[in-house]
């Protein structure tokens, strides 16, 4: 059973377009993280959101945590080829203390 569902699974867009990736769950999380993974490397943390309704911006990336702390979204403005990668959301606060529950990821490809 996947606690976190990400959509879409694949996204292929042209440079300059905007996009949104969704991460949904029926479970409440104490915090939610977004990671990005590039080929041949391990995932790297982008942001942690903790408070329901919280919005964080990282340059062209905007992260939002749902009011009920069950869902999150990642919006990228004016995507660039350097944004290409696998985006993973991960929730903390499930049944096992300290464990993160990862979604399956969204593979983003941005074409020049």
């Amino acid at each position: 059973t996947q606690l976190l569902e990400q959509s879409p699974q694949f996204l292929s867009i042209q440079e300059g377009e905007n996009l949104t990736v969704y991460c949904n769950s029926s479970s409440v999380f104490s915090s939610l993280q977004w990671y990005r993974q590039e080929p041949g490397e391990g995932p790297v943390l982008l942001v942690t959101v903790v408070t329901g309704g919280e919005v964080k911006k990282l340059k062209r990336l905007t992260f939002q945590f749902g009011d009920a702390r069950k869902d999150s979204s990642l919006h990228i403005t004016a995507a660039q080829p350097g944004d290409t990668g696998l985006y993973l959301c991960a929730g903390a606060g499930g049944s096992t203390l300290g464990r993160l529950y990862f979604g399956r990821g969204t593979q983003l490809t941005v074409w020049p």
Partner: protein, 111 residues
Amino acid sequence: GAGVSQSPSNKVTEKGKDVELRCDPISGHTALYWYRQSLGQGLEFLIYFQGNSAPDKSGLPSDRFSAERTGGSVSTLTIQRTQQEDSAVYLCASSFFNEQFFGPGTRLTVL
């Protein structure tokens, strides 16, 4: 470097052989995780160590998989009698609070 290291980076083995994968976490990190990632897929949780607590083994796919963490630091993931479906990248991560720091992974190929 002070990051998570894994060895070997690549491992090719024959079906039926045993393999050991090693993870050196960041010094001082109390938590250590193993994940498996198939090509183009997300992370499949395998096992989680936290301090001296009993590990969470709920993600291990079969009894051919085992892991240990010696002295609260280095961890070894052992796969016995490897099968072709075990081919994947095995990622290790360590953390102190919630942020996980990942190693580069070991790419396992079972022929």
